[in-house]
Symmetry: C2
Subunit: 479 residues, 2 copies
């Protein structure tokens, strides 16, 4: 029994130390493990199954919008990386360099892709000649490398998995449409599938992607009041096209530069799922993304008929299209409950001899712990209803948490007080100058998250310098 | 019209120059493109869609057999690579080395994984403690890097995509069972889905994987009579476990070493599809793996009603679960036929005003060019039948080709005559010595492909040295 308690005991509570709680959960829920490769992680079956579901959901949405998948090399020759000035400045300090192939030094060193704009541009310069070749709407699922100094599982690691879409269009309007279309796909996916509400907006020039004309973002609020940038979509205009010479002959027979976009979402989003929905018993997975939605846990399974009944329940739920498992291991029911809770499986079904006699079972929701007794024959329908309700209530709860932790500051004093005392988003006006952003960041460790599409007029003047305001900005401390 | 002819004209015939034909097909069928990164390729949408289908088919089979997917880092510290002696000797000469992260030199250089045995062993040494932790049956889909000097699309490139399964078991028997189970999954997949017949067998010690106790292989014969190793499954025994200290406490409370396997299939298999089924009009895809199975091509599409009818046909086929597209571009029908043939789309449907009047359409098989007239209302059923027949006939044709190009040699003279004049497999006896293998390779550029599971007694003596024979071997020139 002493050993059995360990699983739950080993978790630090989130109120005590949120960072430690997070680290405990990713390990105890068996999402990742550390490796001998500093700053890199193993994504274990429970973590990778989550990523596979995320991939499937996004890939289906991408393809419905005309995206085609491709695969480009993982290496970028140094000369290619240097072709776009802002881009190389943004990435060169944090790439890994390959200098030897086999026993020989390379003539030109290669970086392991931190992102693939330069490779796609090189590719498109060969592929695009005429307006008939446009648009190109390509995406790849791959891993990328950024040589981060401090790392945390999912949130910041030297290697991570993501998708990166790269498109080329005939006109600026079409590129802008695609940029926003993808941002909306990301936002809908986060809200509908991950039950994570997001703020859609545009990044300030200071925070935009290296080489982009405009960067759009979805920003989510974690349970501890910190923000997480959860996906970005960039409009490059024709900047990269000019640097790489990507031109097409238009219908009027003149040569024109293409307009490009890129957009990505990564395994970082798994960090958001953990930090938005998790609690002191571990992970809580939204039913639509959970690899296992239901765990059937028999009580007194050694008694005759219990395991048979549990298997029948499992089969009935599976036939109804639910992702269900049966835990018939030799552990105690209490231990199994703890494991199911730690792993965030949305509901469990408790089924013992007395339940079977009464023709019923108990459904326990992971998020609220609510217990629902239901007739065994009605379980498939009942569990589906519980999962559906849980999915929508998780979104509403996360939205309510965000609203509760979103503050407005009309003056500098208000801003400082909130920033120092109330973790969350701060809505405040901004004059548009980089100096004000830098001052706020330096003094308060708060950054501009985005200029939201839904603007409000909090006051007339910049919360930092007092000059006339141009935009309302969401500010916050961020991961 | 001059421009329209180009597509087909640009292909060298396979009889004239098979290597050039292959290069033409991969480019013209738009499977790949070359890049600024020497030895690496872009896998374009048509090529990547093929790989996605291969992944889906294999992944489903793997999961049904208990495999779970994970993701391990792409980097291997040099000290880790060196832990197993044979393994490092096999791979160190052909890996890419990362020596700098950002602006700083690394304390220890990292190689980009050429394969991940060492990482999995390092991981398993942490994960496995008790018999309860076994078996581990993990797989990952990723890219790997081997610094090849001469490269060819799909067949040999510096970076390629694959899956690598790595398992750990309590007993030698269980490891051997898993090794063969996966080999059978590979073989069934190749035959059932890719219509590629394969020889299953064991590699000689000379040809086995660096660090393995035994390597099993599936070997396929290409149209030009050369062999292609199409998938391998290795039994490591406890060699790696001893090098990495992977031990578990058994039920009897003694510490034992685990027994391990690994197995992989890569984008190389796309090369096999091309070289087994392709012809002088381009690619020929087996229906079960083809991303697009049917192309509807309207004739005189500007005439009223033609495009409507073509769209109705497309919708009817899609509703029947077929992967179908309509080519309503402004190209001529002849050009569209050439494109559909080059891309290997299994059947096309020709539909013009006269067909529509007669309530019929023409189905054209890509492999035989056979034309089948069918009533429009019966198209979904008829096309499904044609695709099913084509799938099985492609396998039979490939099998007949292989049988026709499989020779037996009882004496050294016969062996030399066949090796020098008849491209194909040679079945011949072998004494088991490495010297004989090396002599044959050096003099005839022929290697041992495998010791097939289905042994025959061609003669009593080794075809090279004349000593008593131990095994019948499939020999051949190989990619």
């Amino acid at each position: 029994m002493a050993k059995e308690k360990k699983l739950v005991e080993a978790i630090t509570s989130m109120e005590e130390d949120f960072a430690q709680w997070y680290t405990n959960v990713v390990k105890k829920a068996e999402l990742i493990d550390y490796t001998s490769v500093k700053g890199c992680m193993v994504i274990k079956p429970a973590g990778y199954a989550l990523w596979e579901n995320i991939q499937h959901e996004l890939d289906t949405r991408f393809k419905a919008s005309g995206v085609e998948n491709v695969y480009l090399p993982m290496f970028i020759p140094e000369s290619l990386l240097q072709k776009e000035k802002d881009h190389v400045e943004g990435f060169a300090p944090e790439v890994a360099w390959v200098t030897h192939g086999g026993m020989e030094p390379l003539q030109e060193r290669l970086c392991v892709r931190p992102t693939s704009e330069t490779l796609f541009c090189d590719f498109y310069a060969n592929e695009i000649h005429s307006y008939r070749d446009l648009p190109k709407v390509y995406n790849q699922w791959c891993s990328v490398v950024r040589w981060e100094k401090t790392t945390r599982p999912f949130l910041r690691s030297r290697e991570f998995l993501w998708q990166e879409g790269h498109t080329a269009h005939a006109t600026a309007e079409e590129a802008q449409e695609r940029t926003i279309q993808i941002l909306n796909i990301y936002a809908d996916f986060c809200e509908e599938v991950l039950a994570i509400p997001v703020i859609k907006g545009r990044k300030t020039d200071k925070e935009k992607f290296a080489g982009a004309e405009a960067t759009y973002t979805i920003e989510a609020l974690m349970h501890d009041g910190k923000a997480l940038q959860s996906g970005t979509s960039h409009n490059f205009g024709d900047g990269f096209a000019k640097a790489f010479g990507i031109q097409y002959a238009d219908k009027d027979n003149t040569l024109k530069y293409v307009h490009q976009t890129s957009w990505g979402i990564s395994t970082r989003i798994i960090g958001a799922i953990i930090m938005v929905h998790g609690d002191n018993s571990g992970l809580v997975l939204p039913p639509r993304i959970a690899p296992t939605q239901v765990m059937v846990i028999p009580i007194r399974q050694q008694q005759e008929g219990v395991l048979d009944a549990a298997n029948e329940v499992k089969d009935a739920l599976a036939s109804a299209g639910l992702r269900v498992k049966l835990d018939d291991s030799e552990k105690s029911p209490g231990w199994k409950f703890s494991e199911q809770e730690m792993r965030g499986i949305p509901v469990r079904i408790e089924l013992g001899p007395k339940d079977i006699e009464a023709g019923q079972a108990v459904i326990v929701r992971r998020d609220t712990r609510e217990k629902i007794t239901a007739a065994i024959a009605e379980l498939p329908q009942k569990v589906a209803e519980v999962l559906s309700l849980m999915q929508s209530e998780m979104l509403e709860r996360a939205r309510a948490h965000r609203e509760k932790h979103t503050y407005t500051a009309a003056t500098k004093e208000e801003f400082i007080t909130i920033a120092n005392n109330k973790p969350g988003f701060i809505k405040a006006m901004w004059c548009g100058s980089r100096e004000c952003e830098e001052e706020i960041k330096e003094k308060l460790a708060v950054t501009s998250r985005c200029m939201p599409f839904e603007q409000e007029q909090i006051s007339d003047t910049c919360v930092c310098c007092g000059k006339p305001a141009k935009k309302m900005v969401y500010w916050g401390k961020a991961y």
